[in-house]
């Protein structure tokens, strides 16, 4: 699949933002006043920036509000609702903390739940697609949620929680890559089932057109896979190993900030691979994966 920068920014930033808001929502002793303002502005800003980036992906962004209508069948529509609910609840919860130093506990819990829902529904947009076997697996929402929790813990300065989460999310990411490489073969979709031709070996002889097309650009993105193995090492180092090492150093704000930046860069790289390495079954019609 084409790794569109708008979608990578959307899933990375909104995951981070909702992760931070989740930890603020479940915090028994949440920050108040100016400190709260900084935290909530960061969380809502990241989540909002992610959602805006996703609108840049649309062919007709001026009609984006129509996406709220089909929550009964569509995960994308559910994601729109969950994100709007999470930002509204956390906005009110944060405003009470910033302006009046009041901790609306129940609202915090509800907001945290909605933040989890927003990340979960985002992941389900990809997980639901049977056409992309690498994504069509329960581990996709598990990893999205785990990465959001990790990034949120890191951003909100929860060092003792962040260290085990960084290690766990790194491990899960590794397992997802290992298993993901085998899912296309497991799905059972081949050129033989795609064309229904039997009785011999099938080869794509001629494509429909000499030029490329929307399908090939969008769903048969193969050029970026050359350095995939190296990028996996870079991604796991930046998102998991390096931040863990930095947090284990004697605490300093510079190290913590570096850990956050490294983690974000690592997650963005992993998200790039999430798209670039995802093979859509339509590629089989072109003799490609």
């Amino acid at each position: 699949m084409y790794p569109a920068p708008s979608i990578i920014a959307f899933t990375t930033l909104s995951g981070l933002g909702f992760g931070l808001l989740f930890w603020l929502g479940v915090d028994g002793t949440p920050p108040t006043g100016w400190v709260a303002l900084v935290f909530f502005a960061l969380g809502l800003g990241l989540a909002g920036a992610g959602l805006l980036a996703s609108a840049a992906h649309l062919g007709r962004p001026e009609r984006a509000l129509k996406a709220f209508t089909q929550w009964r069948s569509s995960w994308l529509s559910r994601e729109a609702w969950a994100a709007a609910a999470a930002m509204t609840l956390m906005g009110v919860y944060g405003a009470a903390l910033v302006l009046w130093q009041v901790d609306l506990r129940l609202l915090g819990w509800l907001g945290a739940l909605a933040c989890g829902g927003a990340v979960f529904t985002t992941a389900m947009i990809y997980t639901q697609l049977r056409t992309v076997p690498r994504w069509h697996h329960w581990s996709t929402p598990a990893l999205f949620l785990l990465l959001a929790l990790t990034g949120g813990a890191l951003l909100s300065g929860r060092v003792s929680v962040a260290i085990p989460l960084l290690m766990l999310s790194g491990l899960v990411q590794g397992l997802v890559w290992w298993d993901g490489d085998r899912r296309f073969a497991r799905s059972g979709t081949t050129m033989a089932t795609a064309t229904g031709l039997t009785g011999g070996d099938i080869r794509a002889f001629e494509p429909p057109h000499t030029g490329d097309n929307y399908l090939l650009r969008e769903m048969v993105y193969v050029v970026g896979r050359k350095h995939a193995a190296k990028l996996r090492v870079i991604a796991i180092t930046l998102m998991s190993a390096l931040p863990t090492a930095l947090l284990l150093l004697p605490f300093g704000h510079v190290w913590a900030a570096l850990a956050v930046l490294s983690h974000i860069a690592g997650v963005a790289t992993a998200r790039w691979l999430f798209f670039a390495q995802a093979e859509h079954v339509v590629g089989l019609y072109y003799g490609k994966r």
């Binding site: 699949m1 992906h57 649309l58 062919g59 007709r60 962004p61 009609r63 984006a64 129509k66 996406a67 709220f68 209508t69 089909q70 009964r72 069948s73 569509s74 995960w75 994308l76 529509s77 729109a80 947009i125 639901q128 697609l129 049977r130 056409t131 992309v132 799905s187 059972g188 979709t189 050129m191 089932t193 795609a194 064309t195 229904g196 031709l197 039997t198 009785g199 011999g200 070996d201 099938i202 080869r203 794509a204 002889f205 001629e206 494509p207 429909p208 057109h209 030029g211 490329d212 097309n213 929307y214 399908l215 969008e218 769903m219 859509h280 079954v281 339509v282 019609y285 072109y286």
Partner: protein, 249 residues
């Protein structure tokens, strides 16, 4: 609503004969022509006369080489357009309600004024039947020429999809696949018509008829066969000497 109907009154669709298709791409051209001039946004091209031409098509013809182990290779032309699935995954993923499946005839359509161009339906389709038009920013797909098949202004013989009407080989058939007595259903039963990617669970309406088995050479096909053996297996004379000498070097 982008929920799928429990049941449709009819299920219109195409039956494509892989045995008769000659790969002329006339269906591609007539489809592009009709659908550019009629229903919805035109099918745009980008850089059509330049170095890197590309465009929106609702129907594309692939060609495959089938290579049996004990027979000559066979070329199969393979037209592919929307299969108007009973369990269309493209419809349920749509966040705006632009994509829908009609209850009366099972045709899957896009209401272009509701489409936000998110592209998720194209991702959900295993067949590559949907293409985002880069000029209009909305999703385009085969309408089964819904503006022809019910069009009283056209002579009766033209009330079929443009691709079916134009096919010079008679490789494309249009009809109601939910009616077992219809011509297309009987054709499917007779020729062993199959679904594409059945494991994807889309229950496509369109069916493909397999290429008929080809004739094969039998043993001793000709009484002259023994006389047609190659005469000189090993070079003799000067060539033989050259061959042996070069071998030794």
């Amino acid at each position: 609503m982008t929920c799928l109907p429990d049941k449709t009154d009819r299920q219109l669709g195409l039956v494509i004969d892989l045995d008769t298709c000659v790969g002329c791409h006339a269906c591609v051209v007539s489809c592009k022509g009709w659908n550019t001039e009629h229903y919805g946004a035109p099918l745009s091209d980008q850089d059509p006369y330049g170095a890197d031409p590309s465009g929106t098509f609702l129907n594309r013809v692939h060609s495959y080489e089938l290579r049996p182990e004990d027979a000559p290779a066979q070329l199969v032309h393979f037209p592919k357009s929307c299969l108007h699935c009973v369990d269309a995954p493209c419809v349920t993923v749509c966040p705006t309600g632009a994509s829908y499946k009609r209850t009366e005839d099972g045709i899957v359509l896009v209401n272009e004024s509701d489409c936000i161009g998110c592209g998720l339906c194209a991702w959900a389709c295993p067949y590559g039947a949907r293409e985002l038009d880069l000029a209009a920013g909305v999703m385009k797909k085969c309408t089964l020429c819904v503006d022809r098949i019910y069009n009283d202004n056209l002579p009766p013989q033209d009330r079929t999809p443009a691709c079916v009407r134009t096919c010079p080989a008679g490789a494309r058939h249009f009809g109601d696949l939910s009616d077992p007595a219809s011509e297309v259903s009987q054709l499917v039963a007779e020729r062993g018509g199959f679904e594409l990617m059945p494991e994807q669970g889309t229950a496509p309406a369109n069916r493909y008829l397999p290429p008929r088995p080809k004739d094969r050479w039998q043993d001793d096909a000709s009484v002259l066969a023994p006389f047609l053996e190659p005469v000189a297996q090993e070079p003799k004379g000067f060539l033989g000497w050259l061959d042996r000498t070069l071998e030794k070097l």
